[in-house]
């Protein structure tokens, strides 16, 4: 981020110079980082779908929820960290352009909501103390989680079309 702002200041001072930021300098950098970004959300989709379908009571019913959540947790973190590294770097290539794209703003809002929802409601829903209880409110919570993550993905994919 800071690097991107510095780069753009440098750019304004020396419009004839090549951009310092590799993603703005060589056109192949963007698709490579974007591929990593797609790998990251593929991992996130895989883990979130497994967890949410369990919470919906549709899959892996014999598996205690808390155990499954604990097993998936490092991979969900890996996915989130991959997105937090590759996403801002993709953004740094043309920050002033992105902030003006409605789909980008919607994506950031949904991503923030999905993260907050995951670490509050879903975390509570996967607490070991609830393993023996009926799914109850945890089913709609899982549906909301799925919708939020799918929304992040759809808004993100729409950025390229605007």
């Amino acid at each position: 981020m800071t690097l991107a702002i510095l780069a753009s200041i440098f750019q304004q001072a020396h419009p004839e110079a090549l951009p310092v930021n590799p993603i703005a300098r060589w056109e192949w950098v963007f698709p490579v980082i974007e591929s990593l970004h797609i790998c990251g959300f593929t991992l996130l989709v895989g883990t979130i779908v497994i967890l949410d379908l369990r919470l919906l009571g549709l899959r892996l019913r014999e598996q205690p929820v808390s155990q499954l959540a604990r097993a998936l947790s490092p991979w969900i973190w890996a996915g989130i960290i991959a997105q937090l590294v590759t996403g801002p770097y993709l953004f740094s290539g043309d920050p002033f352009e992105y902030v003006q794209i409605p789909a980008f703003r919607v994506k950031m809002l949904l991503f923030l909501l999905a993260l907050i929802f995951h670490f509050t409601v879903i975390r509570a829903a996967t607490a070991p103390s609830r393993d023996a209880a009926p799914l109850g409110w945890r089913r709609p919570a899982a549906a909301v989680s799925l919708c939020l993550w799918v929304g992040v993905m759809l808004a993100g994919l729409w950025i390229g079309n605007l």
Partner: protein, 162 residues
């Protein structure tokens, strides 16, 4: 050449013209394609990670693979159909695109690799279903599968770059 003639014929069909010239079909197809890749890839990757013994060790291999098999194949069907429609939108362009042909070749390799697993070491899965780590032959297969799918994401993204 027969294939070139086929592409020329396809290029002139009303479907191809519509996909190419209307503003919405192409971006919508791309979104459907990438979402189905994330869903299919996510499920495949989690299965690979389980066989490698890196994730979800508490879940039996057959449970994880069996419970998500239907979702995996539905996602794959959507992936394939949307991919073919994307190709049909501009057959002359993709006919000349080396990355498109490489992605098709790698997809075929992935299919062969999956069949080798399914009709090879997976037949003895009952013996290692609950093992934390699968036998070396299965782990080798899972590692190759993981590498192929990550590679395919990069190659698929590169189609649009070439």
């Amino acid at each position: 050449m027969e294939l070139l003639k086929f592409c020329q014929w396809l290029n002139g069909t009303p479907l191809s013209v519509w996909l190419r010239e209307s503003p919405y079909p192409f971006p919508i197809l791309i979104i459907i394609h990438v979402v189905s890749i994330a869903l299919f890839g996510g499920i495949v990757v989690m299965g690979n990670l389980r066989v490698l013994g890196w994730a979800m060790r508490g879940v039996a291999v057959t449970r994880l693979i069996g419970q998500f098999r239907a979702w995996k194949w539905v996602a794959f069907a959507i992936l394939l159909i949307s991919g073919l429609l994307i190709a049909a939108s501009d057959p002359m362009e993709y006919y000349d695109n080396i990355m498109w042909w490489i992605s098709l070749g790698v997809l075929a390799v992935a299919g062969v690799n999956a069949a080798v697993f399914r009709y090879g070491v997976y037949r003895s899965v009952a013996a290692w279903d609950r093992e934390l780590v699968a036998p070396p032959a299965a782990r080798r297969w899972a590692g190759i599968s993981l590498a192929i799918w990550i590679g395919l994401i990069f190659i698929g993204r590169a189609i649009a770059f070439f």
